[in-house]
Amino acid sequence: MIELLASALVLASMYGLVAVGISLTWSSVGMLNLAQGFVFTAGGYVAYLFAQYMAKNFSIRDGLILSLGVVVLGMLGSAVAGLLVGGLAFLPLHDRINFPVRGLIATLAISIIGTQIFMVIFGPQSKPLPQIFGIKRLKFGEFSIAYGQIGTIVVATIVLLLVTLWMRNSRRGLQMRAMMMNPLGANMVGVSVRTTGMIALALSGALSGLASVLLGQIFFVSPTSGVQPLIVGLIISLAGGLGSMPGTVAAAVLLGLVEAVTARYAEQSLVPFAQFALVIAILTFRPRGLGGVLEDVRE
């Protein structure tokens, strides 16, 4: 039971990180970032390169420095990739006509280009990431939980809490929330749409970079490894209501739970079916998702 809960929460925290990033980008920038998968993979590859470098030059294969470096560099790499997406898709397009559709297509194009370039540089093989929390397991009587799982849950929870607090209390957070409500109004009272949008993109990039590094505990990094988190993240941010942090987290927990339960009691292959059935059910009864904040705000 605890194992089931732990694996559900691990999935939930990873999906939640990606989904919160997508949700944040959509609500503040007004662009559905389909290049989030590329951003996710970019963080993974930066962390992989760092681990390779440390292993080759300093023979460091585990330990606190490596773990910290992997996490920080993974987040940084993804943040830079997020800024790249912003520079290519958001800055040139955000004041043009038909921005939502054109932004979506531009990010899709970036995602296609990025995936293929990773394919050229790193090849189609999967690359392993170091186990940042070690490989030991914590035992409770007959149950046991891997340190990696606990670490993932704890780190994701802390980071999501920090982001929520930052959004609620800081000046930037206030600007971002103003932009979510009414971008034109925010612009008129002196919020720079361009700066705030780029910060939102970098932040969501850093979040998915963290998810990438954490997911590297379970999966490996490959050029197309961003597709699955992107799709699940999109579904979660939809089901949670684009723009609502609590709704997104709730949806992430729900979907993680469904995935863990289905994989445990039925078959791994049925997981997508169960997830889609859940999302369709949610969207049928609440077409704007669980949080449902953006009813008519963005047009």
């Binding site: 559905l32 290519l88 040139p92 397009l93 043009r96 006509i97 038909n98 939502p100 559709v101 054109r102 979506l104 297509i105 531009a106 899709l108 194009a109 970036i110 296609i112 280009i113 293929q116 370039i117 394919m119 050229v120 597709v227 799709i231 999109l234 579904i235 939809l238 684009l242 292959s269 997508p272 079916f273 889609f276 999302v279 369709i280 969207l283 049928t284 077409p287 047009e299």
Partner: protein, 507 residues
Amino acid sequence: MSNSSVGRRRLIPRWRVKSSSLSRRFRVPGTKRSLLRFEGRYNPKTLQRELILRDKKPLFWLIGLFALAFIPIAIGQQLVFSIFGSICFFAAVNVFWTLIIGTAGLQSFASLATVGVGAYAATYLSITYGISWPVMLVIGTAFGGLMGLIISIPARRLDGLYYALLTIGISEFCRNYITQSDALGGQFNGALFGADRIVPEEAMQTTTGQTIAYLTSFVVLLISLAIFRVVSGGRIGILLRTAQSSKEDESFASAIGIDFQRARLLVFLIASAALGFVGAFYATNQGGASLSLFSLDQMLLLLAMIVIGGLGKAEGAVVGTVIVVFLNQWFTSWGPWRIVLVGILMLASVLYTRNGLFGLRQQLIEIRERRKALSRATRTTRYGAFLPEQGPEIPDKGVIAEREFERAIRDQLRDWITPEIIEEHRLSPMGQHSDHLERILNYFRKQPISNKYVVYCEESYKAYRVVALSGIPGVPPRSVDDKTYSNLDEAYHAVFLRRINDLKSQH
């Protein structure tokens, strides 16, 4: 285009016609449409009756489709046949997808999945019950329509991106279902082959067989274009265009009694059934179906085709398909770089064009108009005889040329006016003058009568005054000032000074 700007010359082919055959026009039997849109007019110079072809698109379509049909047959290689076959297949899919996205305005990404459903259903039934290819086509159409019916249910409640993501989900769902299902070739990674073919497999080795197979795909493309034309250009398309661009438009459409939801679903169902037909055709052409019909990558490639060509237009869908499929299948030796190139094309077309390749023309025209207006507004020497924005409103360009000429003359004369010239005129207003003074005087003599300064004789040899003619018969001249001159020469010189004054202040 009207004559909305100065100095534009566009190449419009003209046909001289007899004025007796003016009202004769070919119409498509049963309709009021004519094949080519001609406009009759009189040539403004020769005053002869002529016809102008207003819409050249049908000609381009004809040339393009001819090229598409005969290039592979002329080359006759298997690779070229397969590339052009893919072009026809994907173009047909894209045309129907354009019908869904552009005309119906539903952001559905499940169109390739609908094709897949049609293909798998037809293949499965053909393998299991041994049905022949015409029945397969019917079955594919039916299954496509059924799939459309299922997908259209959530479209009533969801809109925009939500619906887009749901349809992406549905196609992933279908892909997963097929990999799980043993009956649909799950154990062979979704490859299900062995269906009845239009051209038997052994005939596919010969050039004749390949030609026939290619021509059938070309016919499918033609069918898709015809359906697009009928649906999008017909009544239902007009109804939907009213409700197309925004929420306000939807409210407006329903306010004037258009049930756009119903029209949308109808178009969606027609397009879905047609997509099922294309899928069944794929099965009869390839002898089965494969999982690539459901893959996300393939769908992104299709989206790239539509985006590069221009969203919402049949010609955009076809040309975008030609570009992307050619890049993708001809340059296979480039490896991943060719996909990167497709991505770059897609990015460029989104960043720099408003609506792909076929929105480019309108965009360029607008840019040119803007530049022209800007330069007209900043120009002071040309068109100086009137306000710059008046320029486009004068239909007779000869008037513009004349005013420009007058203005050039005035500029020239103004430079010639010097104290010496004035002194020369004062000394002898009549008689022979220097060249410059003579030209100035000739210019003054040519001026129109209204407001022309003349000498008025109050008392012969004693009192003369300067007056201005009204230019209207029966209206007396107005007096300009109350100065009187004792002799005629002084009065002439006073008129001359006034005219020079006016010339200096005029631009």
